[in-house]
C-alpha cells in the first residue's frame, strides 16, 4: 500500500493565520483520504443503499423581531437502476418587515428569495457519491454553491465515514445603490464519522472548516462612534473569515417505540466568535399513524473581537451586526406527523406534518438602537426578541 505523505506543515508562528488554517485542514483532509483509500482496498459485505425515494411539499411561516417570512418549499428524490439517484428542491421566502437590522437601509421593506437545488447521488458498493448545486437569488444577494460529498460504510456497516467539500460564489448588491457590487467566495471542507455503538445507539462526530473571502459586511448597516452614526455601509469587516465547527451527537432507541437524541456543537473562528449549541429531540410513535416530536435548543455566542454597539475609538475593523454580538438563544418546539395513508397506488406512505417552534434571542451588548434620536440609550444593552415558526408539509414515500 502506497502511503502518501502529508505536506510538511511545520510553519513558524508568524505565518498568517489563514495560511496555517488552510494547511491544517489540508493535513486533515489528506489523512482522511488515506483512511478512505485504505478502506476501499478491502471488501465489505453489508451493502450501502441509496437514500429513500420521497417527496415533500410544504409551507413555512416565520414571525419575530419585526420580520415576517413565509413561502413554499419542496424537495423530491427519485432513484434509478438501484445505483443512481437524482433530487431537486425549491424554496421560496417572501420577506417583509422592519427589524432594526434592516431599518438602516430603508424603513419598510419587502423582498423575495428563491432557492433552487439540484443534485445526484451515485452508489458504488459501499460508497455513496453526491454532487449538488444550489442557486439562491434575492434582490440584493445572489449565491451559488456546488457541493461534493462521499460517504463510505465499513466494518459491516457499523461505521460510516463521510467527507465533503463546498465551493460557493456570491454577489452582494444594495437595493438603494445600483453601482454597488461586491463578491464573496466561500469554501468549506467537512468530515464525519458515524458509529453504531449498540443495537439501539448511534453516535456521530462531524467537523467542518469554512473559509470565506471577500465582502463579508452587511452592506446597509452602520456603526456608532461615540454615539454618532458613521452612515449606512460604514461597517468594516476583515475580508477573510475561517471557522471551525465540531459536533458530536448521539441517538438512542427506546423500547416503547421512541427515540431521543442529544447533540452538541462547538464553533470558533478567526473573528473570535465562539459558540456552543446544544440540541435535544424526543420522538414517539403513537398508534400506527402518529409520530410526535418534541425538541429544544440552546445556543450561546461570544462576540467578534471587532464588534461594538457604540465604538469609542475608530478601529480598522468595526461591526455592529447583532449576528456578531454576544447573545443567548433558546428554542422549543414540537412536530406532529400523521400518516394519512399507506400503500395508495404507487405511494408507500403519505403523511401530513405540522411543526411549531418558539425562539428567543437575548443580546448582551446590542441595544437595538437604530435611529440617531435614541442615541442617548446606547450602551443600555438588552435588546431581545422572540419569534415563532410554523411549518406545514406533506411528505410521501414511494
Amino acid at each position: 500500500m502506497k502511503v502518501q505523505e502529508a505536506p510538511d506543515t511545520h510553519t513558524v508562528e508568524a505565518v498568517a493565520v489563514t495560511k496555517v488554517n488552510t494547511m491544517h485542514s489540508l493535513t486533515f483532509k489528506l489523512l482522511l483520504l488515506l483512511i478512505m483509500f485504505c478502506m476501499l482496498g478491502n471488501s465489505f459485505v453489508f451493502a450501502e443503499v441509496l437514500p429513500e425515494e420521497r417527496a415533500d411539499i410544504g409551507y413555512h411561516y416565520y414571525d419575530g423581531g419585526g420580520v415576517e417570512v413565509d413561502g413554499v418549499t419542496m424537495l423530491a428524490r427519485k432513484n434509478f437502476a438501484g445505483k443512481y439517484s437524482v433530487y431537486g428542491g425549491y424554496h421560496h421566502d417572501s420577506i417583509s418587515g422592519a427589524s432594526p437590522d434592516v431599518l438602516t437601509g430603508a424603513s419598510e421593506y419587502d423582498e423575495d428569495r428563491d432557492e433552487f437545488t439540484i443534485g445526484g447521488t451515485y452508489l458504488r458498493d459501499n460508497t455513496l457519491m453526491d454532487l449538488s448545486y444550489t442557486y439562491s437569488d434575492e434582490d440584493d444577494y445572489e449565491s451559488n454553491t456546488a457541493s461534493f460529498d462521499v460517504s463510505h460504510e465499513m466494518f459491516g456497516a457499523m461505521t460510516k465515514m463521510n467527507i465533503g467539500l463546498s465551493i460557493g460564489y456570491d454577489d452582494v448588491y444594495r437595493n438603494d445603490l445600483d453601482t454597488f457590487e461586491e463578491d464573496l467566495d466561500r469554501y468549506s471542507f467537512r468530515a464525519g464519522i458515524s458509529q453504531v455503538l449498540t443495537k439501539t445507539i448511534t453516535m456521530q462526530f462531524d467537523y467542518e472548516a469554512t473559509v470565506e473571502e471577500g465582502f463579508l459586511n452587511n452592506p446597509y448597516r452602520f456603526v456608532f462612534l461615540n454615539g454618532v452614526s458613521l452612515g449606512s455601509g460604514s461597517e468594516e469587516y476583515p475580508d477573510t473569515r475561517t471557522g471551525q465547527a465540531y459536533s458530536l451527537k448521539g441517538i438512542k432507541y427506546w423500547q416503547h417505540r421512541a427515540s431521543s437524541s442529544l447533540g452538541y456543537r462547538f464553533y470558533r473562528d478567526t473573528w473570535d466568535v465562539r459558540s456552543h449549541t446544544v440540541d435535544l429531540n424526543y420522538s414517539q410513535y403513537i398508534g400506527n399513524q402518529w409520530v410526535v416530536d418534541v425538541f429544544g435548543r440552546y445556543y450561546t455566542q461570544d462576540k467578534a473581537d471587532f464588534y461594538s454597539d457604540n465604538f469609542t475609538t475608530r478601529l480598522r475593523y468595526m461591526a455592529r451586526d447583532k449576528e456578531l454580538s454576544s447573545f443567548d438563544s433558546f428554542a422549543v418546539g414540537g412536530r406532529l406527523r400523521y400518516d394519512v395513508f399507506k400503500d395508495y397506488k404507487f405511494l408507500r406512505t403519505g403523511s401530513l406534518n405540522l411543526a411549531v417552534e418558539y425562539l428567543d434571542y437575548d443580546y448582551d451588548d446590542y441595544s437595538g438602537i437604530e435611529s440617531v434620536a435614541e442615541v442617548a440609550n446606547l450602551g443600555n444593552s438588552g435588546y431581545s426578541f422572540d419569534a415563532t415558526t410554523i411549518q406545514f408539509y406533506f411528505s410521501a414515500w414511494f
Binding site: 482496498g41 432557492e115 439562491s136 472548516a209 432507541y253 447533540g263 420522538s283 435548543r297 438563544s329
Partner: protein, 85 residues
Amino acid sequence: MLNIVKTISKLILGLKVIILASACSSFSISDIEPWVAPYEREYLADPIMSFNKDPLSNKYRQHVFNTREGSRGAGYAHGGGCGCN
C-alpha cells in the same frame, strides 16, 4: 523551542503513518466482525433513529438559525443566501 515543536510534530506524523499502515494491513487480512450484526439492526433501521428524518423541515430550521447566528458548519445546513440583509 521551535525545533522541539518541529521534532514532536514530525514524530507524531511518523506515528500516524505507522498506525495507518498497521490499520491497513490488519483490514486486508481479516474481515471486521461487527458487534451489532446486520440482523440485529431492527431498531437502528427505524426512521425515528435518523438524525435527519425530516430533511425539508430540518433544512428550513437550520436556515432560520444560520441567518440569525454567527456560527456555521458541522452537520448543519450550508450554502445558499440569507434573505436577511
